[in-house]
Point group: D2
């Protein structure tokens, strides 16, 4: 069975480019976030609702490899999967494709801890983890 | 007597430029924010502390005129004054100077409501207002 | 005859919120930009193409009134019109609606000069101006 | 002999926080950039000048581990070193310290290719590389 993956599209904004004329490297992490947000929505419950129920996902690690440049107004497709799920953390893996060129623009991942609203690590599992598991995300 | 004004300096970051090679117009509002933050600190109490005491300053209006371009790494000086203070709102006025060229880069203002932490308008005055008044900021 | 207006949708990103829990005031200018970009595309020629033909639209003035807060993941609709068109400048007017609440979140405008790639003001009209005029945008 | 390292300070801006009340994870990459910029300036020639001489440093890889949260207005110190220098690429390593708490807030690195202004990889060395080497940066 194939794992669940989410595809979502957006465009490179003018303000996301820099003086080199290409998308600034820091902005890709914002797109990774969009990917995670849409991943949860597509699975049936928005990340926003999870936060309202008291489960936070602060980022503990982020990594990105930049493969080919993105220009202003390029339409991109963000592909998001969960590649690692443990009692205390989850890794979302992202690929960003440039739909103008068909090329892979970047790939990377973010690792998140499960915490309560006041930042305490949830060590014994939690409802968001159960939900991801029950949806066979990996 | 001259009104209190604050001067603070920073540099244009790479990620704040856009494909035109100049600072992106939206980033000036971040610098206005830096100006307000340093204005309060210079007056003796950080804006952070005011928030911790339960007074928020959400922006209700922002305006900016762009006079001359800023390049990556240009050092800028942000000049901040209070130009209007009422029971329910305050206006911070900002000028941004390009220290490389000596030119005025932009000028504008932000208008803020005084609210409680839960967003309720403070209609009858508040301690932050009193403090600004007692410091003759306008 | 009604003037041309463009509607486009996006969502408030996590990174666009601030510690007040609402969308940061500076990010609205990025959404105004998205509105302008989609306005041109909807009219038949992307702003990107106009830039490639040597016409730039640097912002000379920006204004925004904030009417109601936007939360993370709120879907917004950006309504863009041209409200003033002269030989040397154009004003884009924007309204941002919160589709969750139905409320107007913000309204404002940006004024732009027509310039060449090297920043020279185009004083005698230009093809982008002609195109906007021929499309009865105001 | 100890390698050259640069220390530079800035503060967490309001717009760099998110609804969790802490600095957004994507903004750390902007601070890494500030670190690199000040590293070059401290060594005697601004990165801006290198770009003007035709050498660009596009990012090909970025990595960050988040160790402890940063709050609005926290003063941070960015420590930058060069940890790997080859004919075609350079790695800048960054640590971000929270001067309020004394804690390490994050550490990571960015890997950059040496390219010409038109994006061609400079395979046989270049003046920026020679300059870094001559300054014993690693």
């Amino acid at each position: 069975m194939e794992v669940f993956k989410n595809l979502t599209r957006t465009r490179v904004r003018y303000g996301e480019t820099d003086k080199m004329g290409i998308a600034y490297y820091g902005r890709y992490l914002d797109w990774f976030e969009t990917g995670r947000t849409e991943f949860c929505r597509a699975l049936g419950k928005s990340f926003c609702e999870w936060e309202n129920e008291g489960i936070m996902l602060p980022v503990v690690e982020a990594h990105c490899r930049y493969k080919s440049s993105l220009l202003y107004d390029d339409e991109i497709e963000i592909e998001t999967t969960v590649t690692n799920l443990s009692n205390v953390s989850v890794i979302f893996t992202c690929k960003i494709f440039n739909l103008r060129t068909g090329k892979l623009a970047a790939e990377g991942y973010t690792k998140h801890a499960f915490t309560s609203t006041d930042g305490k690590l949830l060590r014994k599992g939690n409802k968001l983890l159960d939900w991801l598991n029950s949806n066979n995300v990996q």
